[in-house]
């Protein structure tokens, strides 16, 4: 396939050449190596053709301009020099575009990301459609990179330092109106007239009638440079804990580049891009990205399995989980029937959902009308009326086996035979809930994470009896509401709760042995988790944690034995944040460790100092080993699913690539040695997973492309 096929050229009577980008056979346009070359040859043509007075670049894809670079190209980079060269090739092409004899205007409709934005930045003028699908940004930092096609240099020179740093460091994209405010685009117009408006601007530029204001970096920002950059650096460090080199590099490249000439700045950018592209962090973030893409193609059921489209969802329970699920469904335009026992509970659930959207309303990312429209889609009820039309029912009632069995029986009576019943339990085996039900083939688990609207993972739990269509229905629903979906086999705690239970259990053992709460939390946030284990225990609820721990202990024996002191903590009425009493205090403005909790633990108030490394080793290996056991037992279908589940469900550090990528990085032999060391010190909790032993012996990795 010749990539010149990606462009069609059409010149109108007035001499405006419209270049339409349409990479054949792909859903979206990406800027591959070949595409850059094709681009150059077109620019050659424009140079020679005197009749061309202006150029408009648009996309032939329905709702995307250019979605960015072809990420596969990144994985082929073998050395920093190669990465640098890739960046320089893009620079050369876009420099020529910028220097084009005639004005070039970008007509942007749909997603314009990464390389697409950099292409637009090299144009002389940018027009965007006002469609909500139009969004413009530089997400490279999310893949552990800096923009490599001029973005770090052209963006600050166009919109100023603060605005550019915000976009480059967060990777967030702007909708058209915001892009106009920021000066990132020059005009915003309705999509149907986008090309016409772009053509008019192009001619206006050619004839000198249109002269866009390009003030460059404002003098105020020039004066405040040191403050802007030191603040940017500080906020990056605070957000990333120093685990991610890309945003720090980006700050430097922008800082040094904007103090120098554009060519010098591009030079710095290319060097940084090359360095980062072959770095571990970027490699792992890219691998996580591919894992999330790959999982959509290998979704846990044979391709072609018919999935029922969910037009109506039944939700049982209007608590945080139930209401959260109702909210994300309503957001995806699914009609929801939400049932709870009382109108008070329903009212609280509705208020919770509305609160989530009111927050977005305040941030102007949602209109008042849209909030009302979404609320209209949730129909509260205290009985099962309306469930007959539901294709999927998700229960989020109290974590109690008998209760869940009862609501399953009630749901079976109230729904059609094809209806899928999903339990949002976080620890009860689905097989136990389904035991004795009428339609076991229609029963599975849909384990959402709290808060539902923010946590990107959905863990679907299937029993040997679950029908493939039921899995396909649940999986496609999960994707429709924007979740990464892993399909795991049924078992106590499935994958996520089980790995987390092992990790949390180790944290409570360390508390029992005398560690201080803040030492443990600091150690694990230092490791890269978003919150520490003790904070998490408070958030989840110490009672909930204890319940899960009991289930785990029951099924897995000594390996999951909880420390005795936790009973005392619970008996003291410490349930965690919901009771405003746990390991931390919640009455003051600032959350503080509640010192009185130590009286309930062996060792009392005098805590033993713990080295962060020791805590990290014990907690991480508890997590890693349990993950390997899950893979070995077939709870996990692949290391990929384990990585995606741990990162998006449990906050496992993305820069480590997930537990299996991390194990591959450490090496099975080293991991096994560490496990054996911990086993000798702490006993059964660290019995190495047999699969790890095998891998260590055979010198193999979990992932085929482990490094």
């Amino acid at each position: 396939m010749s990539e010149t096929g990606a462009f069609t050229r059409e010149k109108d009577a007035e001499g405006v050449l419209v270049l339409t980008l349409d990479v054949p056979g792909e859903r979206v346009n990406t800027l591959g190596r070949g595409m850059i070359a094709a681009f150059e040859s077109i620019l050659d043509g424009v140079g020679k053709d005197e009749s061309v007075r202006a150029v408009v670049i648009r996309s032939g894809k329905p709702d995307s301009f250019v979605a960015g670079a072809d990420i596969k190209d990144f994985t082929r980079i073998r050395s920093a020099e190669e990465g640098e060269a890739l960046s320089r090739a893009a620079h050369a092409a876009f420099d020529r575009l910028e220097a084009c004899r005639v004005p070039v205007v970008a007509a942007i409709h749909g997603a314009c990301l990464g390389g697409g934005t950099e292409l637009a930045l090299a144009c002389r003028y940018r027009v965007a459609s006002d469609d909500p699908k139009t969004s413009i940004g530089l997400p490279e930092v999310m893949l552990g990179l800096v923009p490599g096609a001029g973005g770090t240099q052209r963006l600050p020179r166009l919109v100023g330092l603060a605005a550019a740093l915000d976009l480059i460091l967060t990777g967030r994209a702007l909708k058209a109106p915001r892009a106009l405010e920021a000066g990132l685009v020059d005009e915003v117009c309705p999509a149907p007239i986008l090309v016409a408006v772009a053509k008019r601007a192009a001619l206006g530029l050619a004839e000198g009638r249109v002269r866009p204001r390009r003030p460059g970096i404002a003098w105020r920002e020039r004066l405040l440079r040191p403050i802007i950059f030191s603040k940017a650096r500080a906020s990056v460090l605070k957000k990333t804990g120093g685990h991610y080199p890309a945003p720090l590099e980006a700050v430097e490249v922008v800082r040094r580049g904007t103090a120098a000439s554009l060519p010098e700045g591009l030079n710095l950018e290319a060097e940084a891009f090359g360095r980062l592209a072959v770095g571990d962090v970027s490699r792992r973030l890219v691998s996580v990205f591919f894992a999330t893409q790959d999982i959509k193609k290998d979704a846990g059921y044979p391709a072609g399995t018919p999935a029922v489209e969910v037009t109506k969802l039944g939700v049982l329970g209007a608590g945080l989980m139930g209401a959260g699920i109702a909210g994300v469904a309503a957001e995806a335009d699914v009609a929801v029937r939400m049932k709870d026992a009382s109108h008070e509970a329903l009212g609280r659930g509705l208020e919770y959902v509305r609160g989530v959207w009111e927050e977005r309303l305040k941030r102007r990312s949602l209109s008042r009308l849209e909030v009302a429209r979404r609320m209209d889609r949730i129909a509260p009820t205290v009985d099962y009326s309306g469930f007959r039309r539901a294709e999927l029912v998700i229960e989020a009632v109290f974590e109690d086996l008998e209760l869940k069995r009862r609501v399953l029986a009630e749901t079976e009576a109230a729904t059609r035979d094809e209806c899928v019943f999903a339990s949002n339990t976080s620890s009860i085996p689905i097989g136990e809930i389904a035991r004795g039900c009428r339609r076991p083939a229609q029963v599975l688990g849909m384990h959402f994470f709290s808060p539902v609207h923010r946590m990107p993972l959905l863990e679907i739990v299937v029993t040997p009896a679950t029908a493939l269509t039921a899995i396909a229905t649940a999986e496609s629903f999960g994707r429709r509401i924007g979740k990464h979906v892993i399909v795991v086999r049924d078992g106590p705690g499935f994958y996520t709760s089980r790995a987390l239970a092992a990790y949390m259990n180790e944290a409570t053992w360390m508390l029992e042995e005398g560690a201080a709460v803040e030492d443990l939390d600091r150690a694990m946030t230092g490791f890269g988790f978003p919150v520490g284990p003790v904070t998490l225990l408070d958030e989840v609820g110490i009672d909930v944690g204890a319940k899960v721990a009991k289930v785990m202990h029951h099924h897995f024996g000594d390996r999951m034995a909880p420390p005795p002191a936790m009973e005392k903590v619970l008996a003291d009425g410490r349930l965690g944040r919901k009771a405003k009493k746990g390991f931390y205090t919640y009455d003051g403005k600032k959350k503080r460790v509640d010192g009185s909790v130590y009286a309930l633990l062996p060792g009392g108030v005098a805590r033993e100092p713990v080295k962060a490394r020791e805590a990290q080793e014990r907690l991480a290996f508890a997590f890693l080993n349990e993950s390997v056991l899950c893979l070995q037992e077939g709870v996990l279908r692949s290391p990929r699913d384990g990585d995606v589940g741990a990162i998006f469900g449990l906050g496992f550090p993305p820069f480590l690539g997930g537990p299996f990528r991390y194990l591959d990085h450490l090496g099975a032999r080293f991991a096994l040695e560490t496990m054996e060391k911990l086993h000798a010190r702490h006993g059964a909790r660290f019995s190495p997973a047999p699969m790890l032993v095998d891998l260590a012996r055979e010198g193999r990795t979990f992932h085929a492309s482990g490094h």
Binding site: R337, G347, R348, R354, D376, R377, S385, G386
Partner: protein, 427 residues
């Protein structure tokens, strides 16, 4: 007409609440949305099978004049279903039901939803005509100077809002005054009026206590905080007595009058709707209809005479179209705008003079058996959201007919402008 029949499959309403109370911050569209959504959920009807939505509203909102369309969209009905709003004053929901029944009988649709809603907490308050003119001029003014000049014309009296009154535009008489006039001219005593009011409360309370009315009612979770959930009507009183009613002062004619707040229907917020289907479709879908529409009629009298005597004309017309007698009716539902109006119409139906002069027939229409009248209470006790009442009455009558296994039922609604609506249901 063809041999098709329009079936009343189900009905549903929001609780009815005194205006300015629990539904104070909601609009009629909000109430209608909940009502339609709940009707669809409870009947579990395939929303795509609905062919039309017709709703009544008497005091429309300027912002959403086609309530039916907004409510249908908000209730999640497919966007491809057309919807329109009708205004036949207090008989609007009945008119909506008649419209959908017509569409079914004509074979235009197989199923439809009809009902209505009213929020008298959300009536449009208008500027005076002069103020409105000044504001329009201000808006059109091309310069700041012209704008200020236009605004400078505002006088304090222009700021007095123009609230709509429930009065006849053609006569200027309010509804209450009209009822007062009817009571006097027809010799309806205070005792008779209070008796009707008492029966309304007593029957409504009984039908609430034994669950008949709650079964027709859906809960409304009141946004934005959803702290309040309205699950029951807030107007009816368990403890009303004839003595308490007798103690009230007349409102419209303090000196010689007999019409009191106790024997009139109060200003009310609420919504109600029914699901209709062709007989064939209802049976094919496995529904057991509550009742079928047998006939209906609308009539009008001179609004300058006795305003609320429309039912006295419409009832015999509907009965004649049904080829039935008043005595064939097992149950009768009469909308109680005022007890005086109910009594006047009952009196007319059994009057030879009325039959001769107004109907051109020699015999009276017949006697309304009080034991079969408004057996679940009426608008005096439950309230009267203008646009919704017709659907409430139809639902209650149809359900009660089914419960009692009654053969025929009659309903009537009097309306502003001297109009009256009547419908005969059969099983």
């Amino acid at each position: 007409m063809s041999n098709r029949r329009a079936a009343i499959v189900a009905g549903c309403r929001t609780p009815f609440a005194r205006s300015g109370t629990v539904f104070r911050d909601l609009t009629a569209v909000d109430l209608a949305k909940v009502c339609l959504r709940e009707l669809i959920e409870r009947t579990e009807v395939d929303p795509a099978s609905i062919g039309t939505v017709v709703m009544g509203q008497v005091v429309p909102s300027v912002k959403a004049p086609n309530l039916a369309r907004e409510a249908a969209l908000g209730a999640g009905l497919p966007k491809s279903i057309p919807a329109h709003t009708v205004n036949r004053a207090c008989a609007s929901a009945s008119q909506a039901i008649a419209d959908v029944a017509s569409a079914i009988l004509l074979g235009h649709v197989e199923a439809g939803i009809a009902g209505g809603a009213e929020s008298l907490s959300d009536v449009p308050i208008l500027h005076s005509r002069r103020m409105a003119r000044i504001l329009v001029e201000t808006q059109k003014a091309k310069s700041l100077g012209a704008r200020l000049a236009a605004l400078a014309k505002v006088r304090p009296r222009d700021l007095v809002p123009d609230a709509p009154a429930i009065a006849e535009p053609s006569t200027g008489l309010t509804m209450g005054q009209s009822a007062e006039k009817m009571a006097k001219e027809n010799g309806i005593t205070r005792e008779e009026q209070d008796g009707i009011a008492f029966a309304s409360h007593r029957n409504a309370w009984a039908a609430t206590a034994d669950g008949r009315l709650p079964a027709e009612t859906c809960a409304v979770h009141v946004p934005p905080a959803y702290e309040t959930t309205v699950t029951s009507d807030n107007l009816l009183r368990k403890d009303t007595s004839l003595e308490a009613l007798a103690a009230l002062t007349p409102v419209f004619d303090r000196r010689y009058g007999t019409v009191t707040a106790g024997n009139s229907s109060p200003l009310t917020d609420g919504a109600a709707a029914v699901l209709l289907m062709s007989e064939e479709r209802a049976k094919a879908e496995g529904y057991e209809p509550l009742a079928y529409v047998r006939s209906w009629a609308v009539a009008a009298v001179d609004p300058g005479g006795q305003l609320l005597m429309g039912p006295g004309l419409a009832i015999p017309m509907a009965l004649e179209r049904a080829s039935l007698q008043l005595s064939d009716m097992d149950l009768v539902e009469m909308h109680e705008a005022f007890a005086a109006q109910v009594a006047s119409n009952i009196q007319a139906l059994q009057s030879k003079a009325w039959a001769r002069e107004k109907l051109g027939r020699s015999t009276p229409v017949g006697r309304v058996d009080r034991d079969r009248l408004n057996v679940c209470g009426g608008s005096i006790a439950l309230g009267h959201p203008f646009g919704a009442t017709g659907a409430r009455i139809t639902t209650t009558l149809a359900r009660e007919m089914k419960r009692r296994n009654a053969k025929f039922g009659l309903l009537s609604v009097c309306a502003q402008g001297g109009m009256g609506f009547a419908m005969v249901l059969e099983r």
